[in-house]
């Protein structure tokens, strides 16, 4: 149990782990997450499940190395085990035949959207995938998506692929479609989800985001993942993680996400380098 059967860096600083977790693999649904502890001293961190194989009894997670805990995870190798891998947690993504759905993925969200896009296709939707990254070399799983979805767009900050610019290009993508989409689903860093929601608000398109707050237990016990949605306090772990991006109080959510930035830095200064080289590479929007 919990042993790593595959480990790869798929693009710079973005890691993929496939973990033996048969109980989770037989239960997990798109949009759900697991809580992982890299080692016995490790912090409990939530990570979306990016894929699974019920027969092999494995699940796959994809994460960016941004701090102490993701750093420790990135240091693990095949045959190592993670101390904790618990789930599947949270509610599954609402799947139905909505018509046309635009999926926007950035950072780890490209991976976590994959099972969502797959389920949407199976439900009969037209699915359009928008990759969003700083540069073309940070985009991954294109081949998988091309086989799955109806159309693919790219937005890169440096213009090395597709639209040049920020997620603010999203309306351009949407206006270029034959018919306006019935729903937009965004997975990725907080800024991406917040900005994309801003963009679609004016267009009046329902926009679903998969929130990624700090969590400890992931079952509703600690309450650290609370978020204000439509003026009400919600726990992302049990009430979410998916909410309407137009109803989330993003300012508050961002502040809560950043609560431990200083302490994370402290950890970096004090910790000895392990086998992997730690680089403080940040998601393009995260400051």
């Amino acid at each position: 149990m919990n042993s790593i059967v595959e480990r790869r860096m798929i693009v710079p600083n973005m890691h993929l782990l496939t973990i033996e977790a048969p109980d989770i693999a037989s239960k997990v649904k798109p949009g759900q997450f697991v809580i992982v502890r890299a080692n016995d001293e490790g912090e409990r961190i939530p990570l979306s499940v990016a894929d699974w194989d019920e027969e092999r009894g494995t699940i796959t997670i994809v994460f960016m190395e941004v701090g102490a805990s993701t750093g420790a995870l990135a240091c693990l190798d095949e045959k190592d085990t993670v101390s904790t891998c618990v789930g599947p947690l949270g509610n599954e993504t609402e799947i139905g035949n909505f018509g046309t759905v635009v999926c926007v993925g950035g950072c780890y969200g490209i991976a976590s959207l994959y099972p969502v896009a797959r389920a949407l296709k199976e439900a009969g939707n037209k699915v359009i995938m928008v990759f969003e990254a700083r540069s073309s070399y940070l985009i991954y799983w294109v081949d998988r998506y091309i086989k799955l979805v109806d159309r693919v767009f790219n937005i890169t900050r440096d213009g090395s692929l597709g639209y040049k610019g920020h997620i603010t290009c999203l309306p351009d993508v949407i206006h270029g479609l034959q018919n306006p989409p019935d729903r937009v689903i965004v997975n990725g860093c907080t800024f991406l989800m917040a900005r994309a929601s801003e963009m679609t608000r004016g267009l009046g398109i329902l926009t679903v985001v998969n929130l990624n707050p700090i969590m400890i237990d992931g079952t509703g016990m600690c309450g650290v993942c609370r978020v204000t949605v439509k003026g009400k306090m919600k726990f992302a772990c049990v009430d979410g993680p998916e909410f309407s991006g137009h109803e989330v109080d993003w300012k508050e959510f961002l502040a809560r996400r950043k609560a431990y930035l200083e302490e994370e830095a402290l950890f970096f200064r004090r910790s000895e380098p392990k086998q992997a080289v730690h680089k403080e590479v940040k998601c393009q929007y995260e400051s």
């Binding site: 109980d23 989770i24 239960k27 502890r37 001293e41 490790g42 912090e43 409990r44 102490a68 805990s69 420790a72 101390s83 904790t84 891998c85 618990v86 789930g87 599947p88 947690l89 400890i216 237990d217 079952t219 509703g220 016990m221 600690c222 309450g223 650290v224 609370r226 978020v227 204000t228 306090m233 049990v238 109080d249 300012k251 508050e252 502040a255 809560r256 609560a259 431990y260 302490e263 994370e264 402290l266 950890f267 004090r270 910790s271």
Partner: protein, 473 residues
């Protein structure tokens, strides 16, 4: 009074014996256990004060009716081994209960000496025997009944779950505990701090049931990883002991500011995730200078005293009633006061105020006064109009209570809940409204006590055993 007793009394010091403790100045800077426990001499001295009443009222004050005078008389004789046996007939977690039971409102409140020289320190004697046994190195392993081939799933590894598991394994059943967190023990592990209940003691109890043959599966969330209905396909009976782990907030402005914690989060960071060792442990914690804790129970005292130990300069308890109504164990509120926690009684926070970055800076409170008694029998606190005032604080811990986590009830058809979200279960047997499913502890009573959870576990184990033998629900 019989002459023999009078003579005995005249020979001994009648005053209740204090238990040695770390001094407040020292202990407020460390996480080591505060109370150090009786020595053998002190224990015997205290035990000798017991009048061995013919109709012992202390026993009726104990929720699980421990034969208190009996175990005390064993201590008097110096036969500690017989004493611990006697104790364990009714309580399988004496090292825990001796430390955390609210004795002053249970057994000790009934003691005939209560209004005289001070009630017998029953809790301290209980703790003494349990610690004595642990020091002997080898705990006697009881013999197990022949395997019955029946399988029981226990959900939650708090005192209720551990008790059920320990009892049923001895009766020959196969028992598996499923625990959501990565460490077993329930609130005893993630909630109650090291300085009040050393984690080594909890680990010892968990280890004990494991050595008896109980399988403990951690990182397993029933309702998510598997549903109860799925477990019922593999197990003959299921016990739900998932506790009351859902934190309440007050529904006032500013509660989502950074620096506002639920007590569950605050204590879990410190205890389960060993935040007090940060950055050696990797779960980050903040160093707060001024911390307010809202509430007056054990959870509030634990949070306040943890904040002190984390280096806060100023720690306040904000409680809406008065000192007399504090629901915490007396010993803990006294300890907190000795350590320098400031008590702001008859005060209620109405708003949290933050800076532009979303961090708490101030709490706005209102003064209260006590009115007529409410349903709980305590005098109802009433706001005094226009008495609002502000205190500068950089953290507040909300310790106003918990309700049961709906995860199991909401994923189990046929399991009835009350309006408060607790499970409906028979008081005597723990049977729920769903066949082959029992429940006990905080999930049934709402947030209560360790001893009640243990007692409920005992009763349920008996009923489960009866069912497994007879096959009749």
């Amino acid at each position: 009074m019989n002459p023999e007793k009078t003579e005995k009394m005249s020979k001994i010091d009648l005053n209740r014996n204090d238990m040695p403790k770390q001094s407040p100045e020292i202990r407020r800077h460390n996480f080591n256990e505060v109370a150090l426990g009786y020595t053998e001499e002190l224990a015997i001295k205290e035990a000798k004060r017991c009048l061995q009443c013919k109709k012992p009222k202390c026993k009726t004050g104990c929720p699980v009716e421990i034969d208190i005078p009996d175990f005390i008389s064993c201590i008097v004789k110096g036969d500690f081994s017989a004493g611990i046996k006697k104790l364990k007939e009714k309580n399988c977690l004496p090292a825990v209960c001796g430390r955390v039971c609210p004795q002053e409102s249970q057994c000790e409140s009934q003691c005939i000496l209560a209004n005289k020289k001070g009630e017998i320190a029953i809790g301290r004697l209980e703790r003494f025997l349990a610690d004595w046994e642990a020091k002997q190195g080898s705990v006697d392993m009881p013999s197990k009944a022949k395997p019955t081939g029946k399988k029981v799933a226990v959900i939650g590894s708090g005192p209720a779950g551990i008790t059920v598991a320990g009892d049923l394994i001895l009766l020959g059943h196969e028992v598996t505990i499923f625990e959501a967190l990565h460490k077993a023990g329930g609130v005893l592990t993630y909630g109650i701090p090291e300085f009040r209940l050393p984690k080594a003691i909890v680990a010892r109890e968990v280890d004990y049931v494991q050595r008896l043959g109980v399988k403990v599966v951690t990182d397993y969330v029933v309702g998510k990883t598997r549903s109860i209905d799925e477990l019922l396909k593999e197990f003959d009976a299921v016990f739900v002991g998932t506790g009351a782990g859902l934190p309440w907030f007050m529904d006032i402005p500013g509660e989502n500011l950074n620096g506002v914690y639920s007590a569950n989060e605050y204590l879990t960071r410190m205890n389960l995730m060993k935040g007090y060792q940060f950055p050696k442990s990797s779960t980050p914690v903040k160093r707060h200078v001024r911390v307010a804790v809202v509430g007056g129970g054990n959870v509030a005292m634990d949070s306040a005293r943890t904040a002190l130990r984390m280096g806060a300069d100023e720690v306040r308890i904000i409680y809406r009633r008065s000192h007399a109504e504090l629901p915490a164990r007396l010993e803990e509120s006294e300890n907190a006061e000795e350590e320098g926690v400031i008590f702001n009684m008859l005060t209620l926070p109405v708003r949290y105020i933050g800076d532009e970055n979303g961090w708490l800076t101030e709490i706005e409170c209102i003064k209260m006064e006590l009115g007529e008694p409410d349903a709980s029998g305590r005098r109802r606190p009433i706001e005094i109009p226009n008495s609002n005032f502000r205190i500068q604080m950089d953290a507040v811990v909300c310790a106003i209570g918990n309700s049961p986590n709906p995860l199991v009830p909401s994923t189990t058809p046929g399991l009835q809940t009350t309006r408060r979200g607790t499970l409906v279960a028979d008081q005597e047997t723990g049977k729920t409204t769903k066949e082959r499913v029992w429940a006990g502890g905080d999930i049934v009573t709402g947030a209560a006590t360790v001893i009640l959870a243990m007692g409920a576990g005992r009763k349920a184990a008996r009923s489960i055993h009866k069912y497994l033998e007879k096959g009749k629900w």
